[in-house]
């Protein structure tokens, strides 16, 4: 790993002077505004079987230097949310049906595509799950890193390559200068993920979205990657959104957690409170399903039933068919996000019961 003296130069003000062009100057980004505010985001998918409400009114905020963990099963809409923020959904079949995505005071959803494209990769970086398939196999990693500098900031090939080598070193690739010309398949899984992180961080984004960054990796490598993400975030005071289905991974790193189910946020709280005493039956069930060493010999807890069909959501609370606390009102009335405590919300009519059990 590089020394902290070296890394300090990355987010440093002199850097701004060497940028040949900043295409985002005229858009009105306000550094004093909250970093990211997502308000009532709605995304629909038009499929053969009907309209699927993949994201159904999602609200959250991320602040500079803060990590938000978005937790949920496959199909709950967490990836779609992040892709909607980035603006890389396939439209059609997807359609952004409503809501706002406000980055530093600017609603991204209202920007023309050309401006959105400038924001992508530049202000917001994204890291994907499988680095082997997410990196272009026929170009060297150095080329793919340098591309960001050449395309967004107009760097020359030589300068861009130097930056690429610097980035590789920054994320902990040993012998970075010589590995710049290597191809993705020549790296191990953990190293490749570091390359992806480097690519996302190349242009000093203010927000980094990591979509299941460690799911495809070994446990020991997972820990290293999480540590790297944490380090990078703190050094740059970035906002970090961490999307995962793995409760263990997110516990260490996140400040705030959003639990999603069937396209909605069902619980939102700081990490300590959620793990200590969940206020939603789904969160509770998730926590209970994690096998622990001291549970040896007992039956594995699982959540009954299947995730709902997003084209035909059950009436009332989407979770009620699988919920142990469900009562009649749950089948009829969709619960709003009740305020459990300051800064803590839960979409369950009976959150007090869940809290106390």
């Amino acid at each position: 790993m590089s020394t902290s003296a070296e890394t300090m130069t990355m987010g440093d003000p002199d850097r701004a002077a060497t940028r040949r062009k900043d295409p985002l100057a005229g858009l009105g980004f306000d550094e004093s505004a909250p970093l990211l505010q997502v308000r009532d985001l709605q995304v629909e998918f038009h499929t053969r079987e009907g309209v699927a409400h993949a994201v159904n009114g999602v609200d959250f905020e991320v602040h500079a230097g803060q990590t938000l963990g978005i937790l949920g099963e496959s199909g709950c809409g967490k990836s779609v949310t992040s892709q909607a923020i980035m603006g890389i959904l396939d439209v059609p079949p997807a359609k952004i049906a409503g809501g706002q995505v406000i980055l530093q005071g600017v609603d991204l959803l209202k920007l023309p595509e050309s401006s959105r494209r400038q924001v992508r990769g530049n202000r917001i970086g994204m890291v994907f799950q499988d680095a082997l398939s997410s990196l272009n196999p026929v170009f060297s990693v150095g080329w793919q890193l340098a591309e960001q500098f050449r395309m967004h900031w107009g760097y020359s090939k030589g300068d861009a390559k130097k930056e690429a080598a610097r980035l590789l070193d920054l994320v902990g690739i040993p012998d970075a200068k010589n590995r710049v010309d290597d191809f993705p398949h020549q790296f191990s899984g953990g190293m490749r993920q570091r390359v992806m992180i480097a690519m996302a961080l190349a242009l000093d984004p203010v927000l980094l979205i990591a979509d299941e960054p460690t799911t495809a990796l070994d446990v020991t490598v997972q820990a290293q990657i999480m540590r790297l993400l944490e380090e990078m975030q703190q050094e740059r005071n970035m906002g970090l959104i961490l999307i995962t289905h793995d409760m263990g991974v997110v516990a260490d790193v996140a400040d705030q957690i959003c639990v999603m189910y069937a396209g909605k946020v069902v619980e939102r709280a700081d990490v300590v409170s959620i793990y200590d005493a969940p206020a939603h039956p789904y969160t509770k069930a998730l926590l209970e399903s994690i096998p622990r060493v001291d549970m040896k010999g007992t039956k594995l807890a699982s959540i009954e039933g299947l995730p709902p069909n997003l084209t035909k959501l059950p009436p009332g609370c989407s979770f009620h068919p699988r919920c142990g606390y469900a009562k009649d009102v749950c089948r009829v009335d969709e619960p709003p996000l009740y305020e459990v405590a300051p800064g803590r919300r839960s979409a369950c009519h009976f959150y007090e019961e869940v809290l106390s059990s």
Partner: protein, 333 residues
Amino acid sequence: MGRYTIRRLLHFIPVLLGTMFILHYLQTLSFQISGNPIRSLFGDRQPPQETIDALTRAFGLDDPCLDQPGNPCIGMYFERLGRYAQGDFGTDFNRQDVLDLITRAAPITVRLTLLALLFEAIIGITAGVLAGLRKDRFVDNFVRLSTVLLISVPVFVLGVLLQILTGLYIGNWVRDLGAPPWVEAIFSVTYQADHPWASLVVPGFVLGGLSLGFIARLTRTSLIETLRSDYVRSARAKGLSNRRVVGVHALRNSLIPVVTYIGIDVGALMGGALVTEGIFNIPGIGGLTFGAVRQGETPVVIAVATLLTMVFLVASLLVDLLYAVLDPRIRYE
């Protein structure tokens, strides 16, 4: 990369020898079954036995193994290999040197094949890319329909129909208009030596037609698949322009199977060239082979087949090497 090249070469040589052996075996088998071909040269006339024997010896057909059906005549095989290595491909029954005949006919066929390759590559890839980018819209449906037609029409039917259409109908119309001679040459019914390229345009298109269809479809499918891939998603997430995402990231990857197909296609083109040359009366290698087949001149047929096979195998080898250049993952297999 060097090791990969050596491995491909080591693979190539036995295959070449094996294929040549098959051709050799076929020839000896046919002699063994159908008897001495020299005799049939004379038609109804009955020359004295010494003449027949002398000619038989002259053409190296007096080996006793030719009297035993099934005998692979290994001795003859190696002797032939040796002769080929020295560039001696024997003579035809009129005592003309086969290699000479081939060298005279080859340039025409080469021109024809080049034109075909140009047509199929340029039109095929362009059509495929357009169809892939505008999936399910008019361009896409048009390309899919027309390529299916191109693929279904056998080469010779396409050739015959186009020959009538361009040579006769359009050709007459063009001639009546008094167009310059090279334009007339394009629409002529047969090959014209003083317009060696222009008169091969229509045959070249016919030859490349089938492959054009395949290439367009392959490009389209490959592009569509590539556009759905994770690394294209990453490229978009990097904020790159659509032109760059498609033109640089997607295209390079999607063209890999297409380029390899074009390389492999050289073999199919050679077969198609035979047919096309037959239809348009082009005095290339195809015309040469036809004449030889009709007159039972097996040495010529075998020599041509051997040479074309060598060309084909060399082309395959080059394609394999090109593939490794395009796709770095292959180099380390």
